[in-house]
Amino acid sequence: MSYAYLFKYIIIGDTGVGKSCLLLQFTDKRFQPVHDLTIGVEFGARMITIDNKPIKLQIWDTAGQESFRSITRSYYRGAAGALLVYDITRRETFNHLASWLEDARQHANANMTIMLIGNKCDLAHRRAVTTEEGEQFAKDHGLIFMEASAKTAQNVEEAFIKTAATIYKKIQDGVFDVSNESYGIKVGYGGIPGPSGGRDGSSSQGGGCCN
């Protein structure tokens, strides 16, 4: 499938906050209550459309446990977007946000777009973090914020797409040098019409994982 841009995402946050479920909901549109725990890093991808342009999201889903940090950290590099996830029913996952941000600031590129997600908002009765707290934290740290539920799919699509739209806007504003892949953005083959207008419009094959 051809794409105009490929954006690389990383999903981070404490273990058990629902990172893999968010990804599964986004890529497969389903919720799997019994899901094998993530070890190391896993991977998903989906095409979306922004500004009528096909954009491929390549999403790296990381393990939340502290002992895997040395591995997951290496995935920050070259990510254009990050979803930082906490669980609204577990206060400690919110309390750890600062350390996740610190990690991201240290290992990601400065222009990485970070979306803060308060997951499991379907479990309002067990809520331990208010929406306002989430909003405030996001505001204080310059993040985009949403509460979402991987279970009901509420705001899942929106979270991924809004992040992409923000990145896209940054590209339009010239924040990124898109030819430099360390920003986590790749220009697709065949997605962007060349100045010659010489292509016949049919899509190129193979996608973007080749050189």
């Binding site: 070890i39 890093v41 040395s70 995935y75 094959q205 080749c210 050189n211």
Partner: protein, 623 residues
């Protein structure tokens, strides 16, 4: 730029023009400081096109032009596209970019299809898609010539127009995937598509490494107007930084040769000796409610023309110590994991992987050149024991299990020994005695955390954290298996209790994700809590370093793996290098939980030192 709808190229003016330009462009090249090129023996350039260009970005100034070539060697056809040197003034396009896009000799055995775009207006271009599913970026023919290219290809390889898209041409599209693989293996001594890496690594001075089957094809230097053949002249660069001794490398060379030969042999084997084993498998198969996670037929049947005694290779293990985890299963993938299409094929130095259909695989009757044996059963097991229950010849036992597996009902007894909970020298009585002592000991440790009151727990953060983590993870471990499925499954609670007890038994290591994956099959087989715990303890004696907080054990193994691939499969290594994955983090899970989620297990318990298997396990999976 329009071309007539004919395939006759005799009057192709573009071609003539490009020939001329070709020589002109050669002059332009600066002096080559790179390694001199080498064209494989008997190689002949059957097609050459200049000003074939890649558009990495939308900016016209950032195009990379180069020369496209088809090279015929023996019955194989290769394609290269080498960007011109120093051609662009654009600073943003570094030499690195050009290197990145360079298409080093790629065999048409690895090409799946070619899509052509020959619009009435504008430039023609084509996209070459590899069997792996990867595609090279569109190659723009500024001077035309796509049809000529295709016509040339057609002369040398089996090319058919796709039924679905008239602009797509399928290469070697035999209906049967196996046939396809065979055809790619028929290549006369497959030429490696490796370029000489910037830091030469593959070739050491070891004589045994001199492998006549391989010829490295270097990057074609634009400076050389005629292709030169370097023969078997090999770089003999000694890198003092290298931590592996020459001795080890010599061993590697044997492995390389062996691996390659077995891989080729594998496919032939499929046709010849297959059926017996398939039948036997069916008759011997015990009921496995563990969803094939533990299956006595896990070992992989491979025929080797060389068939070295696996024990012989223990010497290698000694040299390489425990950096390599013992693994014995291989590429064999159980159907649910391996229902891929050809997207996952990849050609490497040792052949094309991933085409191996599990059905074909199961038919194989040989394991490491020896007949596959039925799983070890009760009667035979007794022959390995002396009158008091000691294992007389542990090596023979391991070997036996390696070649046949164990019947399920026997696993409980044998695993406890293989895992190291009981020693081979122990008698029936000693084992029984140990079981009872260990049961008490287990209860004691378990009681340590069970007796923690809620009040105490409030002031015991570490405990709460660990317990919380374990609680969260056991409900995310193998829940799709009937043994662990459903709410309030007692087996899930057992997993939790054992892990929590382990975190008290080994407080320094504690609990780390991945442990539950390792414990799960043990509990399934051992059934009993204390026994499972002690077997797990024994396993963690071996695998514990992998779970260290600093991940040292993992890094060591990933490093070892990277070195293996570097030595065994340069094209693959280069690919990883190019894609910045030399840290091999993508193998992290496979190694940490020993390929468990891929359905391979028995090897865990056979500490059978076979580095080839590591290679065979890892490399195909990596693909």
């Amino acid at each position: 730029m329009q071309e007539p709808e004919l395939h006759d190229l005799s009057d192709d003016a573009d071609y003539a023009a490009s020939q001329q330009q070709g020589s002109a462009s050669m002059m332009r090249c600066d002096s080559g400081k790179r390694s001199s090129s080498s064209e494989p023996e008997g190689a002949e350039i059957v097609y050459l096109k200049d000003n074939v260009t890649i558009h990495p970005t939308q900016f016209a100034s950032e195009r990379i032009s180069g020369r496209l070539k088809l090279i015929k060697q023996g019955s194989s056809l290769f394609m290269t596209w080498i960007p011109y040197k120093g051609q662009t003034t654009n600073a943003r396009l570094s030499e690195k970019d050009r290197k990145l896009y360079t298409i080093r000799p790629v065999s048409f055995a690895d090409v799946r299809s070619i899509r052509r775009h020959t619009p009435a207006l504008g430039w023609q271009y084509m996209i070459v898609v590899l069997s792996s599913g990867l595609a090279f970026p569109p190659l723009y023919f500024y001077n035309g010539g796509v049809r000529e290219f295709l016509a040339t290809v057609k002369q040398h390889v089996f090319l058919v127009r796709s039924a679905e898209d008239a602009n797509v041409f399928l290469v070697n599209d035999f209906e049967n995937p196996l046939q396809r693989t065979l055809s790619s293996l028929e290549l006369p001594r497959a030429v490696s598509i490796a370029s000489v890496p910037s830091t030469p690594v593959s070739v050491r001075g070891s004589a045994s490494r001199e492998n006549e089957e391989r010829t490295d094809v270097g990057v074609h230097d634009e400076n050389s107007s005629t292709s030169r053949y370097n023969g078997r002249q090999r770089q003999k660069v000694h890198d003092p930084a290298r931590d592996l001794s020459i001795h080890v490398l010599e061993k590697f060379s044997l492995v390389t040769k062996f691996a390659r030969e077995t891989t080729s042999q594998l496919f032939r084997e499929t046709h010849s000796n297959g059926f017996d084993a398939f039948e036997r498998r069916n008759t011997n198969q015990s009921v496995l409610d563990y969803n094939h996670k533990v299956d006595e037929d896990e070992e992989v049947p491979l025929k080797s023309p060389v068939a070295p005694d696996p024990l012989e290779l223990e010497r290698f293990q000694v040299l390489y110590q425990d950096h390599l985890m013992p693994t014995s299963t291989i590429v064999k993938q159980k159907a649910p994991y391996r229902k891929h299409n050809h997207d996952d094929e990849a050609a490497t130095n040792v052949g094309t992987f991933e085409l191996i259909d599990i059905k074909e695989f199961d038919k194989l009757s040989l394991v490491w050149g020896k007949p596959r044996q039925p799983p070890l059963g009760l009667e035979e097991w007794a022959t390995f024991l002396d009158s008091e229950g000691r294992v007389v010849d542990s090596k023979a036992l391991k070997k036996r299990i390696f070649y046949g597996g164990i019947e399920h009902k026997l696993r409980r007894e044998v695993w406890a020994i293989l895992l190291g909970y009981h020693t081979y020298e122990s008698t029936y009585a000693e084992r029984e005695y140990l079981r009872s002592i260990k049961k008490t000991e287990y209860e004691t440790i378990k009681n340590q955390w069970q007796s923690i009151s809620p009040e105490q727990a409030k002031r015991f953060t570490k405990f709460r954290e660990r317990k919380g983590l374990i609680d969260k993870d056991v409900v995310r471990t193998d829940r799709s298996l009937s043994f662990y499925e459903g709410d309030d499954n007692p087996n899930v609670n057992l997993l939790r209790d054992i892990l929590l007890t382990y975190s008290f038994y080994n407080f320094d290591l504690g609990y780390c994700q991945g442990m539950s994956d390792l414990l799960s099959p043990i509990l399934f087989v051992m059934e009993e809590e204390s026994e499972s715990f002690w077997c797990f303890v024994a396993l963690m004696e071996r695998l514990g370093p992998n779970f260290n907080r600093d991940q040292n054990g993992m890094h060591t193994q990933l490093f070892a793996l990277s070195k293996l691939v570097e030595l065994l499969d340069i094209p693959l290594h280069n690919y990883f290098k190019q894609n910045d994955c030399l840290n091999y983090f993508f193998c992290f899970r496979w190694i940490l939980i020993q390929f468990k989620r891929l359905g391979s297990w028995n090897y865990l318990f056979i500490h059978f030192p076979l580095c080839q298997h590591l290679f065979r396990v890892h490399v195909p999976i990596i693909m």
